[in-house]
Symmetry: C3
Subunit: 291 residues, 3 copies
């Protein structure tokens, strides 16, 4: 008989996300254990409890979800958790702080319905943030080309270095772009067939004129849910809305797929006891869903 | 297929009430998510997680319970929660801080078994506290008359103003009474056919002599569970105990009905996604139970 | 119909043990309510919520588990919880802070497979710690003899006094031994047929030479899971490993039985509403398992 599915929610914030909790329940989790204020200092004993309570055949029915508003904190926490495991005594782990991984996967998959990721030419606006970084990384890993745009050259360059260290052969297909002049951004948009806006709320990263002049563009995805739009003219509810030769997606338009990926990734954790779900694995879950 | 019933327990205290938690489980809740130290500053994100995780057809399977020892804090929290919802994107909410709503409803319903609420003449002792205020409001809303008694004139008057602002036509049927002289209280008891003691523990609000002289009295309900009794001579276990022409109820005598109302109100939250259960709605749930 | 089984986990630490939580789920608990930072100051209201929410026939479906890293804190908490109950209005309670009770029971039961507890002659190394004290007490209660060994005479004597006050006739069969000279320890081991190492991690309490010279020894149980071994030469995975005329157990070798006892004790809490599971009752659960 199968042991009940237990998900241990580690949240780096003061309160556990109710969002992540409800999605966990809707993914088939039978017992959700919520822990807030978790960090790499206090997590070790909590991980031991997950490791040493079930036999090898049942260990896959325990899993760990890492969430919270700060993605860097979540990454540190996952690193510590993985370091705590030893040998086969481990449980599956998923990182989705601030929804960054599921959002990035859903955005990339939305684009993949219309362009070939293996050859696409993407512009990632707000590319130094957690979602932007992941979108860039995912496209590079699929073989595509990325111009990573930021207002700050130093941050853009550092982000590209970090991504290149993670993706073999990435450096030849990834370029840092500073968005300080409209003409520079327009030049960079000239060749793109897909653009993602992954910036902070409240900033329009691409104006109507530049967008209209980007003639190769097939897909524009704006992940900003709060007005003003990150890409001028895209509505938050847009879901493959045709505008000229372009298909537009807004944050909520991508949201349905994001939720499906989130649920499927949690369910997939319980298939084996040794899986790690970061951006790439979550994208793979999404690719399975779209088959 | 129906999504599992999730109740999110927001408690304004440092620890979530175990009482509210057990009742939730006994009301058919499948997953209880407990959050302590919740206030109007930190609740918004938690409410968003309840709003944005399930589609319109499943949203009714998520609900929010607000509890804790301080009723005013609970009221503020419910106000903030309702303000956070928008349009149809909302979940049902129930307020029962300190058990005030279910207790008031159970007390009023116990009286309703023997007197007609629409014409009754009630005295509410300890009328400025959270339970007393609710008992007064509920009777006024049903059409009855209320003398609201307090040791403090200013507080009594302020409470009556507040209640009048909530109940149309209430001002003609609600009067503030100060209990500083025995004769004044006796005069007020003269016409009453039902009396409720809703004061703090440790204070007898009605002595035996005054009680005996209240000749019209059909029902006396003492919600004080700790000796001395709030109404002299009433036992905590009394449940429609006949004494002369009067039927007496003690706190535990009312408690069974209170529990039934509490459970039924939680279950009722999951019928629709937009219900709010404050005193009136909880009384309505109780009236259904007694049908 | 039976009410769902609710286990209320009170943990004296800042975070609830995930270990205890997973074991609870695997024991058939349907709803686990987790409370951290619980102490004898803040527990009363939480216990009331467990007492006053279900009728006499369903009260056995609510139970309380006390855990945390500090056994003394757990003992204080259990005392306060039991003091809060009154008459038949109570729920079952289990104490297993730091796993001390289930570990002690599993160690004693492992020995009981090979020696008769009623006549055995045991040496308990690290006998003043929470597990050591319990092992000594359990053996005394079964009729056996115990030499309780510590590096500190004062602590050893105080511990023996405390145990004697709990076990009738114990004083004649319990002796405090100081381990400050090898010859003294060797003399004490001379007559022993079972030895338990219950000390802190990182200290070898019995060297190879003394062990080899302990000719009557039938069973050696080392509860230390971290190298170096508490008893030289015993492996952490040992489970009745024969070495000469001796059978050896290491911490993990005892662990499987410990887990079974832990689960069975939690399940047993839900049989009645008035049970208390401290070391003796948990040992009794284990004895049932081995029948």
């Amino acid at each position: 008989m199968s042991a009940p599915k237990i998900l241990i929610q580690f949240d780096t914030d003061k309160s556990c996300s109710t969002f992540d909790a409800v999605v966990a329940v809707d993914s088939g989790v039978q017992h959700l254990l919520q822990y807030s204020n978790v960090n790499s200092e206090n997590v070790v004993g909590l991980v031991h409890g997950a490791m040493f309570t079930r036999g090898p055949d049942q260990l896959k029915n325990t899993a760990i979800f890492v969430g919270g508003s700060n993605v860097a904190d979540g990454e540190k926490l996952v690193a510590k958790i993985r370091e705590t495991f030893f040998g086969p005594v481990r449980v599956s782990v998923m990182l989705d702080s601030n929804g960054a991984n599921t959002t990035a996967a859903a955005a990339v998959l939305s684009a993949a319905k219309h362009v070939d990721l293996a050859t696409c030419r993407a512009v990632v606006l707000g590319g130094t943030g957690p979602v932007g970084q992941r979108v860039a990384r995912l496209i590079l890993r699929q073989g595509g080309y990325v111009n990573l745009v930021s207002r700050n050259l130093e941050r853009a360059t550092a982000t590209c270095w970090a991504i290149n260290s993670q993706v073999e052969g990435g450096s030849e297909r990834l370029q840092a772009i500073v968005s300080d002049s409209p003409s520079r951004l327009a030049a960079c948009m000239q060749d793109a067939n897909v653009v993602f806006a992954c910036g902070a709320a409240g900033v329009t990263l691409l104006d109507e004129e530049t967008l209209a002049a980007s003639e190769q563009l097939l897909v524009a995805i704006d992940l900003n849910a709060v007005p003003p739009a990150g890409i001028a003219g895209i509505g938050v509810m847009d879901k493959a809305v045709q505008r000229g030769s372009r298909l537009d997606y807004g944050a909520i338009g991508v949201g349905g797929l994001k939720m499906k990926i989130h649920r499927a990734a949690i369910a997939a954790m319980f298939e084996k006891n040794d899986r790690v779900f970061d951006a790439e694995e979550i994208l793979a879950v999404g690719l399975e869903l779209l088959k």
